[in-house]
């Protein structure tokens, strides 16, 4: 079981890709706003919610 010092250690291939290279097309602020509003659904003011919940 003799080692062969002439042979260099194997190097694993490295995927050094940047995430930004795969990032989707940049959205406008209004597009992002619409997406967030769609994701969270309807918001209401805290006071209105608490009144409706009987917490006043």
């Amino acid at each position: 079981m003799a080692a062969d010092p002439k042979k260099a250690p194997e190097k694993k291939s490295v995927a050094a890709k940047s995430l930004s290279a795969k990032a989707p097309k940049k959205r406008t602020t209004s597009e992002r706003e619409a997406e967030v509003d769609a994701n969270i659904g309807e918001s209401q003011k805290l006071r209105d919610f608490l009144s409706g919940a009987g917490w006043d």
Binding site: M1, A2, A3, D4, P5, K6, K7, P9, E10, K11, K12, V14, A15, A16, K17, S18, L19, A21, K22, A23, P24, R27, T29, S30, R32, E33, E35, V36, N39, I40, G41, E42, S43, Q44, K45, L46, R47, F49, L50, G52, A53, G54, W55
Partner: protein, 608 residues
């Protein structure tokens, strides 16, 4: 919608049963925080009829928060349980010398204007200096140590899940901030929305099956994490949707299915992992962020991590678990093995000794290991059961080391429970160095159960647990854990994990991708040795198999076949060949263990 007098009594009685007979940290919390939750609950039962609805809930929340235990909570009933109150921005802190500063780091799209935007410094909150406002808010939070309470208080300034936080007292907040050289003010109304899970996360109160038994999670922080994605990161939500479409057979996807997502740069668990190769002044390293351990399948979790680190540079890994609220304890503890050649000794878990914990251990074979010592307590007087790992020790070592480079773990005070346990295991097994942005992790050292789980363990009419009104609930720490190795027996709860080095976050960190933090982690990695052993099998499928082994920084190589010693040799770096004996066809595992100065430094397993 409002609770009747009988329903209030029921809530208090159930809280008493949990805290008095099941809560494993009660002796610790009485000593550490000088609290008497049982007497406060008895007083609340006595006085509850005279309290308004908000005052009743506020007292119950306060009793639990004063335990300083993010595992042990009162879950408020509907409609609060499913709502989140928010302000449309996030603030984070950084340090200028010894001074803390607070900066807006995220703004809900559509909220920005010419002066209020990412990067402005907040100076006052409703006229209160911001550091004092955060301090006041922190005192209302349940974090175990000062760093953790501060972190929780800061998060709750703008984001409150009403299942576990009382609604803000104020309807709006006036924020004073510095934009350039000018001081400005802007008023923001608190808004409420129904806490959705469209970001791809799982309901932190809905763990079921085996996961419910092995949970170590700050549920509130998990929901806050998901809320932040919903409010500020629509791109991340979209990636979650695309990955689901590409991988879910029900949606026409599956393993290897084509689609827009490139899995060499995006995780198949995008809510759990993000990763990339990262350049630092000290070299290029791998970087993996684990956002949560809250996964139902711990094996799939570990396999995805192994896939990811296989794509990254092998000379060093920055493993960032900041803000990770925990989740599946098995995921955290089973992950340790892939980063080290050492055998993993999992943490031990203990019940408090009581007639109720004895009933639990008699009711389910899952807890048979604990039964005998609890039954003996009447004679031994021991306060806690004996300690056992959650699963047999083989479960924590059946994969072995998969990443051989050095690792720096990055932690903060928001790391909790499973993340505490993972960090403790990382330190106790000497896997690498820990770089903290706080003086300790969040210090949650237990397995937490929900009231709903107790209802399933005790379904009978004589059960001490009863269904609760309006979807109210409780969570309670039932099995505390202790560390292993040199710190054997040390509690994780309230103490947390102290890092090897502390890096105070800079303004560049919070606004520019953690650049100084990563530079520091890179400097640490550059001082750590790289060891490697890799193997390639030749003549696979024949009886005369030969293995070509490449070693680096290793002076001795031990070879095992199916866990039995085969040979041991001194080696120098390079490639060597090992002739394998003729072995019958079947599942054979070759394991190579590399030593330097007789210390085990690296290992690899190969299936033949």
């Amino acid at each position: 919608m409002l609770l009747s007098a009988a329903e209030r009594q029921l809530l208090v009685d159930q809280a008493l049963a949990l805290i008095e007979h099941l809560y494993v940290h009660l002796p610790l919390k009485r000593a550490m925080h000088a609290v008497d939750p049982l007497q406060r609950l008895r007083l609340l039962r006595h006085r509850s009829a005279s309290l308004s609805e908000p005052a009743f809930h506020a007292e119950l929340v306060s009793i639990f928060n004063r335990l300083r235990d993010l595992h042990t909570n009162y879950i408020l009933p509907e409609p609060l349980r499913t709502r989140t109150a928010y302000l449309p921005f996030r603030i984070e802190e950084f340090f200028e010398g010894q001074e803390q500063r607070y900066v807006v780091t995220e703004v809900k799209p559509g909220t920005e204007d010419a002066s209020f935007k990412r990067g402005v410094l907040v100076t006052h909150w409703n006229g209160i200096p911001i550091h004092r406002a955060v301090e006041l808010n922190s005192d209302r939070e349940a974090g175990s140590n000062l760093d953790a309470r501060h972190a929780r208080g800061l998060a709750a300034m703008t984001n409150r899940w009403l299942a576990m936080s009382l609604p803000p007292d104020e309807d709006w907040v006036v924020v004073t901030y510095r934009a350039g050289r000018r001081i400005r003010e802007r008023r923001f109304e608190w808004q409420v929305f129904e806490s959705g899970l469209s970001g791809g996360g799982n309901d932190p109160l809905a763990a079921s099956g085996d996961l419910a038994l092995v949970l170590g999670l700050d549920a509130k922080a998990e929901m806050e994490r998901q809320t932040r994605k919903l409010l500020f990161a629509p791109e991340a939500i979209e990636i979650v949707r695309q990955v689901k479409q590409q991988t879910d057979p029900v949606l026409g996807g599956g393993p290897g299915a084509a689609g827009p997502v490139d899995f060499t740069v995006i995780s198949k668990m995008p809510d759990v992992f993000t990763f990339r190769a990262i350049k630092t002044p000290s070299g290029q390293f791998g970087y993996v962020r684990i956002h949560t351990f809250y996964v139902s399948d711990d094996t799939a979790f570990v396999e995805e991590f192994v896939r990811i680190v296989g794509l990254l540079p092998q000379n060093g890994l920055i493993l960032d678990v900041r803000g990770n609220p925990g989740g599946n304890i098995l995921a955290g503890e089973r992950l340790l093995q892939v980063l080290t050649p050492q055998a993993i000794d999992p943490e031990r878990f203990y019940f408090i000794n009581s007639p109720l914990t004895l009933r639990i251990c008699e009711a389910s074979p899952s807890f048979a290991d604990w039964r005998e010592s609890i039954a003996q307590a009447v004679e031994t007087g021991a306060p806690f059961s004996h300690g056992f790992s959650l699963r047999p020790v083989e479960n924590y070592n059946n994969i072995g080391q998969k990443y051989q480079g050095p690792v720096v773990l990055v932690t903060d005070a928001r790391c909790y429970s499973t993340t505490d346990i993972f960090s403790a295991g990382f330190q106790d097994h000497g896997i690498g160095k820990i770089l903290g942005t706080s003086g300790a992790t969040g210090a949650g050292g237990a397995n937490v159960w929900g009231h709903g789980l107790l209802l399933t363990i005790f379904p009978a009419e004589d059960s001490p647990f009863k269904p609760l009104p309006n979807n109210a609930s409780f969570r309670v720490a039932v099995r505390r854990c202790t560390r292993v190795g040199k710190r054997s027996g040390v509690l994780v709860e309230d103490l947390g994990v102290v890092p090897d080095a502390v890096h105070r976050m800079t303004k560049r960190d919070v606004l520019n991708g953690n650049v100084d933090l990563i530079k520091r982690a890179g400097e640490m990695l550059a001082t750590m040795p790289v060891h490697s052993v890799t193997a390639k099998v030749r003549n696979a499928g024949t009886l005369k198999r030969v293995v070509a082994v490449t070693t680096r920084n290793v002076t001795r190589l031990d070879v095992f076949l199916n866990a039995r010693p085969y040979r041991s040799s001194d080696v120098i770096d390079g490639i060597l060949s090992i002739d394998l004996p003729s072995l019958p066809a079947g599942s054979i595992t070759l394991e190579l263990r590399g030593f330097r100065n007789d210390q085990l430094v690296v290992s690899t397993r190969v299936g033949l």
